[in-house]
Assembly symmetry: C2
Homo-oligomer: 212 residues x 2
Amino acid sequence: MPRLKLTYFDMPGRAEVTRLAFAIGGIAFDDHRLPRDQWPALKPTTPFLQIPILDVDGVVYSQSHAIERYAGTLSGLYPTTDALAALLVDEIVDFNEEILTLLIPARLEADPAAKRELTNALAAKPLPDKLALLEARLAATSAAKKSHGDGPWLLDAMSLADLAIHGIVDRLTSGWLPDMSPAIVDPYPRTMSIYHAVRMHPKVVAWYASKK
Amino acid sequence: MPRLKLTYFDMPGRAEVTRLAFAIGGIAFDDHRLPRDQWPALKPTTPFLQIPILDVDGVVYSQSHAIERYAGTLSGLYPTTDALAALLVDEIVDFNEEILTLLIPARLEADPAAKRELTNALAAKPLPDKLALLEARLAATSAAKKSHGDGPWLLDAMSLADLAIHGIVDRLTSGWLPDMSPAIVDPYPRTMSIYHAVRMHPKVVAWYASKK
């Protein structure tokens, strides 16, 4: 295995799918949590002036979803021999980015009253609309599963898509937007079953326990 | 090969990388150009209320970059057996999306004076900054090529990343933003060498000739 160092701030954000993929795959990596005050010095050295970055045997790579897919490949969570399964996974990863893009203005707003207003506007319609699309997509793709099994996963086994869905729910229920009611995710049982299944995965439980 | 139908508007936009990948790979597909007035009826039937969609043997998939990656896999333009090469390609595909996100407000602005102002603001700094990052990234990754060859490609052979770069340059030089000077891409020789190499590829030349 290559020598891996993931650099990101000490928060889930754009690094958590990669961290969980490595943890689930049992892939050793240096989980470097960058102190905020060190970011200005690091920034100009990064490929696109952004983190996360992943150092692989001394070579630096960038772009969170690109890094996620690499971590998923190393960890057996990304289908590399089934192009249609990969397409289903990629679709969810891209949709996760769409939801994140929708949320970012509220996240970045510093004024508490304006932040609350932006959050409430999201919760009123655009966000439930997106979550309903995701829920419907999970129902539709479930029919295409080879196993036709009872597992919660998008595919027959856990994949990067499930980690992305876990990330969406976590972002909405963890106080990342302080005014977002965690109940916003309640109407989406397939989405939530994936979230819970990721959260209760033994490797994920062990990972979070080790970080406390 | 599966039966493939790609549905998008009659413009390059978010479908062109996929179209060119199929054309280069010699993969037959139905290049369905949706008339604008048919979009309202189709929209509610699409997975995420968006096009492009790709119908594969009667099953519909969505998200442009997910579809691109699938097309690239079928066409031999996406590395499925070299995880680090895939990471390099994915990085550029994701960066292409960043540049597109930067340009969209100017593209969507209907008022000509406001559109010109937005375009000029992009051209003054944010866009050259992004293009310079891309150019530097191409220089840096070129050193990692196994062939250390003279080819313009990001990797040893043409890949989805090169088609994404072609798309960036095409968007900036084709009048997609009417007030953008095509000269904006001139300072970036590596980027332009990839653009020209894609454009002059025999399969691409034949593809565009067949569409006239």
